[in-house]
């Protein structure tokens, strides 16, 4: 299972990176491949490449602001939620993403 995603919060100082951390930890715990791009105060970091997108099973957009490059995921199943969800209910969010893949 490969999960990719983007996290972005209004101020771009803390929640953006906390959400990334939570998602990465949860996915690694389950033995999934994971790559989370952040769009915060430091700009775009850990940018998702074309290869990343092609090889991913599902995309998690934990974003509370509009983000750049959303068209990259036009052909992928996407779970979209607030950046808070990724921090406070990480496991449930990852469950939802996985369910989207299995439901195909």
């Amino acid at each position: 299972m490969k999960i990719i995603g983007i996290t972005a919060c209004p101020t771009g100082i803390a929640h953006t990176y906390m959400a990334q951390e939570c998602l990465e930890k949860e996915c690694k715990k389950r033995g999934y491949d994971v790559k989370i791009e952040t769009q915060g105060g430091l700009g775009i970091e850990n940018e998702l490449t074309e290869d990343d997108v092609n090889s991913a099973d599902v995309v998690i957009l934990a974003v509370s602001v509009s983000i750049e490059g959303e068209e990259r995921f036009d052909d992928k199943p996407v779970v979209r939620t607030d950046v808070d969800e990724a921090i406070s209910h990480t496991a449930a969010l990852v469950d939802r993403a996985v369910a989207l893949v299995k439901g195909k």
Binding site: T11, L42, I87
Partner: protein, 156 residues
């Protein structure tokens, strides 16, 4: 590389008996003002409260990270408070907190190092061991060392 003093001992408070969000914000903001880190207290407070209204910063794990990127901030800083008892941060969520990190960032970014530090601190707060260690710290100096360690690692 300019080393910005984003953590200061004077902005660290342990074993406090506060149990109200606005009182705590005012306490920390007043201290930041005394340290000449702010252009305008009222503007910064307004920005912090606006951010809370948009999305509560009590994200769970008994922590809250109120913050603002604001014209009211002159120098970037992080303030820390550990309250003796957890209390409900705001009416919008039932999340209790006893660890508060208040972050202030000037509106225009000239130096990414402090943002890097803030993102590292935020990530570390997702680590249960780190949170427990903060709570177990017996003095402001101890908390200061822990935070300064992270700052040093980021500066490398």
């Amino acid at each position: 590389m300019e080393n910005i003093n984003i953590i200061r001992r004077e902005l660290i408070f342990t074993k406090e008996s506060y149990a109200d969000r606005n009182e705590i914000l005012n306490c920390l903001i007043d201290r930041a003002d005394e340290l000449h880190l702010l252009n305008d207290k009222a503007t910064y407070l307004k920005d912090v409260l606006n951010r809370e209204e948009t999305m509560s910063t009590a994200v769970g794990f008994d922590i809250a990270i109120p913050h603002g990127r604001s014209k009211g901030v002159k120098s970037p800083f992080i303030a820390y408070m550990h309250t003796e008892t957890p209390f409900v941060w705001d009416k919008n969520s039932s999340n209790q907190v006893d660890l508060i990190f208040l972050i202030g960032v000037p509106e225009t970014n000239e130096n990414n190092m402090h943002l890097k530090f803030l993102s590292e601190i935020s990530k570390k707060l997702m680590d249960e061991d780190f949170r427990d260690a903060l709570r177990r710290a017996s003095s402001e100096d101890e908390v200061y060392s822990m935070l300064e360690d992270i700052n040093q690692k980021v500066q490398k």
